[in-house]
Assembly symmetry: C2
Homo-oligomer: 204 residues x 2
């Protein structure tokens, strides 16, 4: 029997290896053998923790979201910042993150959730549902921010729920274009315009 | 020796099979064997036409773009439509296309260029460059449209080039979110707000 902390460590090493490899390439490209190699664990150990690569990917998504929450969302969507300034801060932080990835790996990697969504949505319903749930958390922060702005008399006539969805779509699209262009400057130049997006209320 | 029209037909059958399979799942998921099965050709015949799956994918991208040009861009960006109305038409047509895909296949498939961009940009430089070139064609149509609008006194203060890039990013993001949500209604509700996007000119 391994002591509990070694068990936890092995599990985390597998998640961390999968996360790094999949973010750098794709879900399908990365096999269990490569994950085990990178994590320094045997295949038997892998399957002890994760029945399948799909199960591991759900844990990878959770790990990405835990970091996105503490390192991006909690800081950008801080209640002491004027609502629309939170979006500007989000844009700045997302730029710095992609610029760092480009510097470290030679590639802009985009959004781990958006990447897996385009790759797997038609193939892996469980993963698609998990991504939608995570995006819903991001969308809720945007919606709360827009509601706070509207309470201050901003965003008149906008459908707050639909505008939050539209801003998230723009965020994902900018990440996609930055990855396609392999240029973090795309994020710096385009993402602040997230604040211009409005979806008008549907008239009765 | 096959007559030329049979040769052409075999090549097109391979492209068509690869295009359908990759659009429905992903580049990496679809192997040469599956493409040959779907096209009804032997592997030797495949490699006669395409040295590798990567070469085939470049032809798949061209085929997608040829259709996107005649079925979407040429119709939406028609010179006899007022400039900003072209964007509204583009949004309507993109919605109808995704709704049809959802009806036919059970899935919103999103944008074939955006899908391959997120999956392959860090891995296949030739494919990434081909996608960037195609997106540049789309972006040029948007830029011409915005220039025409600006000549009519609209879009004052907007950086036309950057706004065209931002609108394309939004288009891609909406396709991504519609695919993630597996719901073409996302396109119908969100994409018309493309017209609200503005990237201001950078002040000197």
């Amino acid at each position: 029997m391994l002591p509990n902390n070694a068990t936890t460590d092995t599990r985390l090493r597998i998640i961390d290896a999968a996360r790094t490899l999949m973010f750098a390439s794709s879900y399908t490209e990365v096999g269990v053998a490569a994950i085990c190699d990178q994590a320094g664990v045997r295949k038997g150990s892998f399957y002890h923790f994760f029945p399948s690569k799909k199960d591991l990917t759900l844990a990878v998504l959770e790990a990405h979201f835990a970091d996105a929450k503490t390192q991006l969302l909690d800081q950008a969507f801080a209640a002491d910042i004027p609502p629309l300034d939170r979006l500007t801060r989000l844009a700045e932080m997302a730029y710095r993150f992609q610029a760092q990835l480009q510097q470290d790996t030679g590639h802009v990697l985009g959004c781990p959730f958006g990447n897996l969504a385009t790759e797997l949505s038609t193939q892996e319903e469980t993963i698609r549902a998990a991504i939608v749930a995570i995006m819903g958390r991001f969308e809720a922060e945007l919606r709360d921010t827009l509601a706070a702005a509207q309470a201050l008399g901003q965003l008149e006539g906008a459908d707050i729920g639909a505008t939050a969805k539209a801003m998230l779509a723009y965020f994902e699209g900018v990440m996609l274009m930055a990855k396609a262009s392999n240029d973090a400057e795309v994020v710096r130049r385009l993402l602040p315009s997230m604040t211009a997006i409005r979806v008008p209320q549907v008239s009765e």
